[in-house]
């Protein structure tokens, strides 16, 4: 029976090694944050700005003494490893009591998977980027917050803007990535267009898989469909590839194109785009927006970011920066509530409830259902003498309350009731200066 003894010895040895080394003190020397974003694969083109911003903001916070004297220790998790690995990492991080906050995740798919896990593990989780409105549609969460807007305001805004610049649109085509975010966007954009202009017709609807390397056949398909407008919420390297392949084939001059997440690629492939392509930031995170320009903190962030990473922060960077700053505000509130005693995870959740805070680019307000209210900024590509790439012109900033259905209202039913007369009351393109 030698091997049983060996087994037992090995088990004991591992047990001892694995015993948590630190005892809980009242105020920890460091507090752990799990930060989930894509750092590999095609989605990393979008995920890395998020990660860069996290690095920068956490450094800034730590340099200023941390949160109530406690430094943040981030653990970055690559969403590129797939949902199973992401969930496993989340569970592993949550098992360590020193990790108090999860900033997760980029992909809507991962958010949908992580939210119930966060709830089970009673882990305060701030969704920094996921947009799918399904997140809070059926499930009520106590531990999950979205410091970001959802697909509903984002793509209702696209429809509103489109109709203000091109009211005669009849034929629309859609090319979106094939998962919740892309599917939701298609449904919402179509529903909004049908409500606001009942005679529009969807002439092609394509859902290439997330991470497709080539779009050539799709581009031909879009051209043959002869749409007035092409809507797309492709993002990351997918969007770059699409622009790279579609621009020489004149897709952007033949139809009006809406790239709902277009701002994130302007610096990389924007020169391929003609003027007048509608680009959005899904949210308000545009570094050249009037609000950003007014805020000295934002200007400093932009400058430091550009120096460090050799490009201007695109909107995913602001989503991340705004979220981490919001978490810092939550800690401030929690510390006030506990009268200086270091807050527990549950204290944080209580403090985060109905949070309302200024951000680098505007405001975030958490509603009763923990969903975030964020304004929507949208515009069109325009050349600018100050930059070697196009920037956003003819901008509009739609107030969150204007484009977001109220708590507890079914979003698609709300969209269906949108009245074409609302268009007249909206701020006009170019009104945000």
């Amino acid at each position: 029976m030698i091997h049983l003894k060996t087994f037992a010895a090995a088990a004991v040895a591992l047990l001892v090694l694995a015993m948590p080394a630190t005892a809980q003190s009242d105020k920890p020397s460091e507090v752990g944050f799990g930060v989930f974003t894509f750092t590999s694969g095609p989605a990393a083109a979008y995920g890395m700005p998020g990660r860069n911003a996290a690095e920068l903001v956490i450094e800034q916070i730590n340099a200023a003494g941390g949160i109530g004297g406690v430094k943040i220790k981030p653990t970055y998790v690559d969403e590129g490893q797939g949902t199973e690995g992401v969930v496993a990492e989340f569970r592993r991080l949550a098992a360590d009591q020193n990790n108090q906050v999860m900033v997760a995740a980029l992909s809507s798919g991962n958010c949908l998977a992580l939210a119930p896990v966060a709830e089970q593990l009673k882990m305060p989780t701030f969704m920094w980027n996921c947009d799918t409105h399904q997140l809070f549609l059926k499930d009520k969460y106590k531990y999950v917050f979205r410091t970001n807007s959802s697909t509903v305001p984002e793509f209702v805004a696209s429809a509103l803007y489109l109709l203000s610049v091109k009211p005669d649109v009849k034929r629309i085509a859609i090319i979106n990535p094939d998962y919740a975010f892309g599917r939701d966007a298609a449904a919402i954009f179509t529903a909004a267009m049908k409500a606001l202009k009942p005679d529009v017709e969807v002439v092609a609807e394509l859902f290439p898989k997330l991470g497709s390397p080539s779009y050539n056949t799709e581009i031909s398909r879009l051209v043959t469909a002869q749409p007035d407008v092409i809507f797309s919420n492709l993002w990351g390297a997918d969007l770059e590839n699409f622009v790279r392949q579609a621009a020489p084939r004149e897709l952007f001059t033949r139809s009006k194109v809406i790239l709902a997440l277009g701002e994130s690629i302007l610096q990389r492939v924007g020169t391929l785009l003609p003027d007048g392509v509608i680009v959005g930031v899904i949210g308000d995170g545009w570094w050249l927006s009037p609000d950003s320009q007014k805020n000295p903190q934002t200007k400093e962030f932009v400058e430091t970011y550009r120096k460090r990473f050799n490009e201007y922060p695109v909107f995913p960077a602001f989503k991340m920066a705004n979220t981490i700053n919001a978490v810092k505000v939550v800690y401030g509130k929690a510390l006030a509530d506990t009268k200086g005693k270091w807050p527990t995870r549950d204290d944080l959740v209580a403090a985060a409830k109905n949070l309302k805070t200024e951000t680098l680019t505007g405001t975030i307000e958490l509603r009763d259902d923990n969903d975030g209210l964020v304004d929507q900024v949208i515009g069109m590509t325009t050349k600018d003498s100050g930059h070697p790439f196009p920037i956003m012109g003819d901008m509009v900033r739609y107030q969150a309350s204007l484009v977001t259905p109220p708590v507890g209202v079914d979003p698609l039913a709300w969209i269906a009731k949108l009245n074409p007369s609302v268009l007249a009351t909206l701020p006009k393109p170019g009104s945000y200066k």
Binding site: L206, N216, A237, N241, R244
Partner: protein
Amino acid sequence: MFANYAPLIVDGLADAALIFFVAVGLTLVFSVLHILNVAHGSFYSLGAYLSVVIGTFVAGRGWPALSFLALLISPIIVTLALGPLIERTLLRWTYGRSEALQILVTFGLFLILEDAQKLIFGVQSYSQDAPMTLLGTTQIAGIVYLNYQLLLIALAVLVAIGLRLLLKHTGVGKLIIAVVADQEIARAVGIDASRVFMLAFSLGVFLAALGGALASPTVGVSPGLGAETIVLAFAVAAIGGLGQIEGAALAAILVGLTRSAAIYFFPEFQPVVPYIVMLAVLLVRPYGLFGSIGLRRI
């Protein structure tokens, strides 16, 4: 009539051209070494990465035209660096052993090569567009095509014909054919089969890397490309009949056209197309369109 289907055919053929390069390499290696190389897709992505790196480097120095040269040079570099090395060290240990084992060895190689790429090229997406923009565009039936896409079709035809000529009319080709026909007899008449193995494997590596290099101007290159490519190449090689060059060509056209047709008519099912075609073909002809299998001698 033609106007309606022209885009479908052009896109389908351009797609088929890219598929053909990888599938024909896979099938060639199988016909000579009888190994199904799971790592074949990694050579494709290596070729793609390298040509983007070299291409953007020379384009960045102000010689965008040189990036065409990169498309040819990078597969040669990949081949010289890896072809003989892998054949000599890993593969030759597996000759004559079970198929399960051979597949596993190449799977191990696949895992290593995938991570090697991550370590060398990082995890972000790469792309180049100089070759594409330089060649300009052509209108066919009202649709703008990249001349580069048309060039791909032409190149695939050239490679298919070239391979045939190589096998039929050159000394190396004849050696390969002799080894494919009967290894024992080939050895008996003094053919150095192990050299032929190395040459054939390197040729397979070259074709895969060439496919990747040629694809790089029209696709984004990022981790996972190799894994995607190899399954597609498997399907095409199996449809054509493992070891059949003409079979691979026909299968690539079949898959390319059906795929683009699917985008037009059933976009939801476009990604399933290669496998459905494969299952359908193998149900009727278990060893592929051009394949056959003999009885075991007892």
